[in-house]
Subunit: 211 residues, 2 copies
């Protein structure tokens, strides 16, 4: 059965998936690029990068997906909805290569990009959005792309099968926290923590099956 | 030089050092004993326990200390200051075996226990309390015993040399959070994360020396 999975979602020790304020110049606010340096150092990101544990985990991001769902704040900086020409951060050939659903309360017509990515804009509940994306994914999995707010919503609605979260040894103090409202997550997920020689810790959470 | 060190301080994935509400029946509130099960399973705690990585880390708690400082809420449940007979959770022979300073805004006379522990009650700034404890420790280190509030205060005052924090794979959602107000901790400490086969992750933080 096709799964809903989160991959390479990076948080600080204190659980923030982004700093603040988010802006065109600083998509991650005061966090800058520090949440993702572990990934930039891998061959997954850079041909000259390392191929150790971090690269192994990171590469799972691209395997087996037929669609992505992301939150409005991943798609663009605050106010992108007022710019009819905004087409995301990723240039003409975004790294999704599948139908990609952007959750927003201000939907607009779909945009077909190069390389197989089409952005669709959805104002829908998490369950309805997932059903739509699953349909489009044609039997492959659906990536839940973040940010933290939409991942939290999907977890709370019981819609997430696997989560890969990367804990980076920095303390951000403010931003959007992944854990808020996820009390007792361990009752619904098997949680594994594996620290990497690079300094980050890979957390994988696998939904428990009914006994 | 003698150091101020934190050992075996356990937190949830979302950073809480205790659940709530704290009470005589449930010192850790809704967290119950879950923050410390990793330690109960070790030979450090139980003669029949395991002697793997968790035991190795845990045993550092007892080595090289000449005094401890703890917060009022570690010493007793809310309201203990109204009970003149309250002498802590630990029976007649508490596991400190040194002078032990309890920070409280309602100090009382010192109490000598068995086994070398004497409780002293201090209403003092973190810096003054540490100076007092260092003096009493006679060249040995001072343990900062927690809870989270007092550790945060001591870190913010720049008084902590080493911290060993154990991250347990549960999400508590509420309680007292270790990380609050510790933004940019990585600028002042080298942070190492090592996951254990038991499922917990040992974080050690070592104060950086001026270059
Ligand atoms: N740490 C990582 O690995 C990682 C990964 C991805 C993204 N990020 C970063 O995380 C930040 C964004 O995260 P975030 O938590 O602020 O926001 P987000 O989850 O990306 O987006 C939340 C927004 O999406 C819209 N939305 C969500 N659910 C909806 C629904 N069911 N129906 C309609 N609209 C819905 C709402 O926007 P409107 O009401 O405005 O339409 C909502 O405010 C960005 O800085 C991004 O770069 C980090
Ligand atoms: N997770 C772990 O490994 C671990 C370790 C130790 C303890 N704990 C738990 O953590 C909880 C306690 O933590 P907490 O953060 O609530 O409180 P805490 O740090 O133990 O105590 C804070 C209290 O100590 C007093 N205090 C602190 N600094 C002071 C100063 N400079 N001068 C005078 N008084 C001062 C104040 O109490 P008053 O104003 O009331 O006097 C303050 O409210 C308990 O549940 C305990 O069992 C957990």
């Amino acid at each position: 059965m096709a799964l809903a999975r989160v991959h390479n979602f990076s948080i600080s020790l204190d659980g923030f998936g982004t700093g603040e304020p988010q802006s065109l110049e600083s998509p991650f606010g005061h966090a800058g690029e520090r949440l993702h340096e572990w990934m930039f150092a891998t061959r997954y990101w850079d041909d000259d990068g390392q191929s150790g544990m971090d690269a192994v985990y990171a590469s799972r991001h691209d395997v087996g997906f037929g669609a992505e769902i992301m939150g409005a704040n991943k798609f663009g900086p605050p106010g992108w909805q007022d710019d009819p020409d905004w087409r995301g951060w990723w240039g003409d050939d975004p790294p999704f290569h599948t139908p990609t659903y952007v959750l927003t309360h201000r939907p607009r017509p779909s945009v077909e990009m190069e390389g197989g990515t089409t952005f669709h804009f959805l104002d829908a509940s998490p369950a309805d959005a997932l059903a739509t994306a699953m349909e489009a994914a044609g039997g492959l999995d659906v990536r839940l792309g973040g940010g933290a707010s939409m991942i939290r919503d999907f977890v709370r609605a019981g819609l997430v099968d696997h989560m890969h979260v990367v804990q980076v040894p920095i303390v951000l103090g403010r931003g959007v926290r992944l854990w808020d409202g996820l009390d007792a997550l361990e009752e619904r997920f098997d949680i594994e923590a594996v620290s990497s020689p690079s300094g980050v810790t890979h957390l994988t959470m696998t939904r428990k099956h009914a006994p």
